[in-house]
């Protein structure tokens, strides 16, 4: 992994919207200790904003009653938490074993050449962000692309091109 410890502060406080607030309160009853809510709360932040800013980490720590450093630890340890803004459409290309064997590189190269983004980047227009990720558990239908949380199996550059063309 690369260093994830450079948090971004947006300069204004974070708080859950009504929907997430209710979900937080519902979930917290399911655990005997409040710290179990750190991961679910980080997910709620990401659902709400698309990524997790420094203020949101403070907010969670305060809400749960734990140290900000502890929430910081979790946010950086678990790599699916976005600690910087992503594009309107977030593309994850699996880079591991079976997808590697079935030429995930063609997809990554296509995105670099046609869209101009490399793993870890956001396109200039903010439309796409790309991440190469470890095994997504779709090895039997490799290579797989996860686009905005939906899986697209047995992909190749041609199929991806058609798929991306359908997006705003």
């Amino acid at each position: 992994m690369s260093d994830r410890s450079e948090l971004i502060a947006v300069g204004k406080p974070f708080s859950f919207d009504a929907e997430r607030d209710a979900e937080f309160e519902r979930l917290i009853t399911r655990y005997p200790i409040r710290e179990s809510m750190i991961m679910p709360a980080l997910w709620l932040v990401q659902e709400q904003d698309g990524w997790i800013c420094a203020e949101a980490i403070s907010y969670i720590a305060e809400r749960i009653g734990t140290y900000p450093a502890k929430v910081f630890e979790l946010a950086t340890f678990y790599t699916m938490y976005h600690l910087k803004p992503v594009g309107r459409h977030h593309i994850c290309v699996c880079r591991t074993l079976s997808c590697y064997l079935r030429d995930k590189q063609e997809i990554v190269d296509y995105l670099a050449e046609e869209i101009g983004i490399r793993p870890g980047q956001v396109s200039e227009d903010g439309k796409f962000s790309l991440e190469e990720v470890e095994c997504l558990g779709h090895c039997g239908t490799a290579p797989v692309v996860q686009l905005d949380g939906e899986f697209h199996e047995a992909m190749d550059a041609k199929k991806l091109k058609a798929l991306l063309a359908t997006l705003d």
């Binding site: 179990s36 991961m39 699916m80 880079r95 079935r102 470890e134 239908t141 939906e150």
Partner: protein
Amino acid sequence: MEVKLLSARFDIKDAHLLEVAKAHGAYETLDKLFTMTPVQVMEEVKNSGLRGRGGAGFPTGVKWSFLPKNLDKPVYLAVNSDESEPATFKDRYILVKDPHMMIEGIIICCYAIGCHDAYIYIRGEYTSQVKILQKAVDEAYAAGYLGAAVGGKDFRLDVTVHRGAGAYICGEETALLESIEGKKGQPRSKPPFPAVVGLYDCPTIINNVQSIASLPFILANGADAYRVYGTEKSPGTHLFGISGHVEKPGMYELPLGQPLLEVIDKVAGGVWKGRKLKGIIPGGSSTPVLTPEEAKTVTLDYESMAAHKTMFGSGGIVVLDETVDIVKLVENLISFYHHESCGQCTPCREGLGWMLKIVKKLLAGDGGREDIDLLVELCDNIEMKTVCVLSAACTMPVRSYLNKFRHEFEAYAAEKASAKPDLREE
């Protein structure tokens, strides 16, 4: 060769919905379940010989029996749906095709072990799958299969879906518990084992999705019916995931004990594009590779794999065709484990990165034979010196590639004209 015990409802449209699943037999074992004592259920599972389907193959019923008796603490069940071993995707089929089979299994398990609070730990990557799973749990609550009175009986069971967020190590059972507790997924030293001190310091059973999903069949049909399939020591069926260079990759349910090469040829359509076989990874990326010669005598069960100095693992079979560059494959492999090292123990944290850099050096043409020897030595120096087996999950397969395909590493080393000057004296 294929059988349909666990996958019986996989082909039925919308079987993930309670209504459809119920129409095809879901939750039918519950009536029988509540006529049995928990001890009887545990015995039935023990007798079935069901072995943990997460990778280690430890007998499920025996694991349950490690729970201390007469405790004043709650007992927890954590269902391991972290399925993150590369080349493993079988549990996903259960989660999306037949989640109610798993929930039914959870009820059976919890009844047997006296648990009233179960957590399903699902890997964060399963973004669309978690929605289907959560819906199934919600439906089960609404129908009274979960909640204060399971199936109308005096048995409370709450099931909570807990999402991971991108960490392979959380498939390790104690890392999984740490993660539920709101910590980094860093494995715990054992002993104590989770059955004694687990989630929230309480006795805890951690079972894989497929192990749990096997329970309704065993309970409905009895241990002997389960033992009809498979071998004496590896009874039952397994959801095998076949991927890599085959014509028909995918998930196939097979009885244990089938010949590996026959399965690849007959079930998965053989090596793709008419190419020759170079090697087979038999049970997920962490299992040592088999050469085509070795593979000839391998059958798909725990004992045969062990006899061939590899492991059954998670049943994720990967076929490598003749075009595979083993050194690049190893780079990909170490890169994965390096990325996923939790960073706790020195050997794994520091060693995997070092190994990755050495392989990269070889690939760049800057490495020598001494680097190959160093890689072999590092495998030994790192392996089993850590709290968990993540480091071994990397070094065991890497060592197998270094041993069985050493000439490919040497070909890269040979590109380096001669040893570089020793800079240490500077």
